[in-house]
Amino acid sequence: MSNDNSVKTGLRESATFDRNTMAEIRRAADTGIYDIRGFGAKRKLPHFDDLLFLGASMSRYPLEGYREKCNTSVTLGDRFAKKPIVLDIPVTIAGMSFGALSANAKEALGRGASIAGTSTTTGDGGMTPEERGQSKKLVYQYLPSRYGMNPDDLRKADAIEVVLGQGAKPGGGGMLLGQKITDRVAQMRNLPKGIDQRSACRHPDWTGPDDLAIKIQELREITDWQVPIYIKVGATRTYYDVKLAVKAGADVIVVDGMQGGTAATQDVFIEHVGIPTLAAIPQAVQALKEMGMHRKVQLIVSGGIRNGADVAKCMALGADAVAIGTAALVALGCNDPRWDEEYQKLGSAAGFYDDYQEGKDPAGISTQDPELMKRLDPVEGGRRLANYLRVLTLEAQTLARACGKNDLRNLEPEDLVALTVESAAMARVPLAGTSWIPGQSF
């Protein structure tokens, strides 16, 4: 962490005790409590930027970019459900709660996703009429806390996502600090106003995969086997978790890598638990293939997806769709430079803001403050999100056509190479210019 001044003066900063590290030690000494923040892992990790596509040339035919179709639609949950979800694009909106986000933000997500032909997902706070009203396809999360859970909303959902964990905090429950527990949030969660709410990390009425199989049956019985049931796991022991989820009866599996965001969790949790998204996908795909269930139980991948290249790389590694959270919020205006002055007043800056737990978001997204909320116009936000989703799709199609694929799901690991030994080992694709996949062959 050097800068020009240190180079000029010959000062040498410790790589072990850099300024961020020392600032955290001082903060801990000042307050006596761990740092709680939002966003996802900020450390550098092997990621999709470490992969490249091998475009078509002599040995592969490319498709014409503006003339030949490249299918983007995907059907999710046709294993058991009478009404699987059909999406126009394979980019969904990840679960984010009303409470963590403002009602306007939830509405904007619903509007944008519906324009683009994809689904949104509730979160740890129940289903709001705004969200159900604007989301043509809505996935209802079934979380350990069961805040706002009720059979009427369950039957209104287009799919149910049983959440076992999330990438930002596998093994941890949700957290919503008192500043954001307004009357409406408190009422929906049946909690006293203004308390620091700590969601459970384990489901209250089942433990283990055998119980989960019975729980899934219960949800199917309550909804008369109409809608798909997803299982969402934070990426850790992904190979085993996916196998158990398939065995428990999931229609769709959602794997959330450690770059996945959160509204509030301990920094130590965000940065030190879980595995990168890149490492999780091959594990999940291997598990599905070994069970003969790849493409039969669909795989949704999330955690750090930012552009169409990331989408295409996920799909080339074997995902059926992806989910975005942080990127969707950025599209709505999170961390936008136009609010920089106000971010500065909060001790942050545009591009750095992660104190979602405080409820003071100048962009009106991760807040329950009625005045701040007004800054986000849900119609305009929805339009921006739809634009962004279209760009992700167009970019992914561009890359797929270049690889000669007329369907995003025809992308395959063979289309990829890795730039680093680490990413080659994790993604299980060869190091560029070699046929070497570390751990598999020499």
Partner: protein
């Protein structure tokens, strides 16, 4: 009365038939025979039905119940009446762990004993147990009432929010932030009402009351040892 025999019908048949009553009620009284411990019996009901299950039930019996009056003439497995919204669920025998988990309304009566985590994360339901409850009962309970006529296991009411807990017998230990509170006249009245609704003949004055000390509602450095 309509009878569904689970030796010749499936659980799917049973639940579908009961769900169809939500749209148009053609039969209010239902009997379920030969349940043989099957899971997910009478889940997701949404009608004022009277359902008698003659035998033991497995996991999640009466899950998410609305309006219906369900009686299990036997024991019930894990997650009995989980997330119940309204209506009444009565078990003549014992109930396994997590009975009444996250339930938001209605009345759950367990005439025998309940296992661990009875009333975990309860959100408004009233639970009356004629026997004893296992450890960690009412863990993270948010609202509603838990009445235990027998004893309570370890860590009763751990991380409690606003549930009213009444126990007649011995409490092995209290969980974090759960304390004994004064039994005032309004609590005697509330408990008396709960016992009457449950059809349980006990003297309210013989019970002790427990609730949240509300010390863990916000993060405080001084409470670090409790987390």
């Amino acid at each position: 009365m309509k009878t569904i025999d689970l030796t010749s019908s499936t659980v799917r048949d049973l639940n579908q038939a009961l769900h169809e009553q939500a749209l148009e009620c053609t039969e209010r009284e239902w009997a379920v025979t030969n349940p043989k411990g099957q899971h997910n019996l009478a889940v997701g009901l949404d009608q004022k039905l009277a359902v008698d299950i003659h035998g033991h039930a497995g996991y999640f019996c009466a899950g998410m119940n609305k309006k219906a009056h369900i009686v299990v003439h036997g024991n019930a497995g894990q997650g009995l009446a989980e997330n119940m919204m309204s209506g009444t669920v009565r078990v003549k025998g014992d109930a396994s762990q997590a009975a009444g988990a996250t339930a938001q309304g209605g009345l759950l009566v367990i005439e025998g004993n309940a296992g661990a985590r009875c009333g975990i994360s309860m959100k408004g339901v009233d639970i009356v147990v004629k026997g004893s409850v296992g450890h960690m009962s009412c863990f993270m309970g948010q609202s509603g009432s838990l009445v235990v006529c027998g004893d309570a296991g370890e860590a009763l009411g751990d991380s409690l929010y606003e549930v009213h807990i009444y126990v007649k017998g011995e409490v092995k230990s209290l969980g974090a932030d759960c304390i004994e509170k004064d039994m005032r006249a309004e609590h005697i009245e509330e408990l008396s009402g709960l016992l009457n609704r449950a059809g349980v003949d006990e003297d309210p004055a013989a019970f002790r009351r427990y609730g949240s000390a509300r010390q863990l509602y916000t993060f405080k450095v001084d409470n670090a040892s409790a987390y």
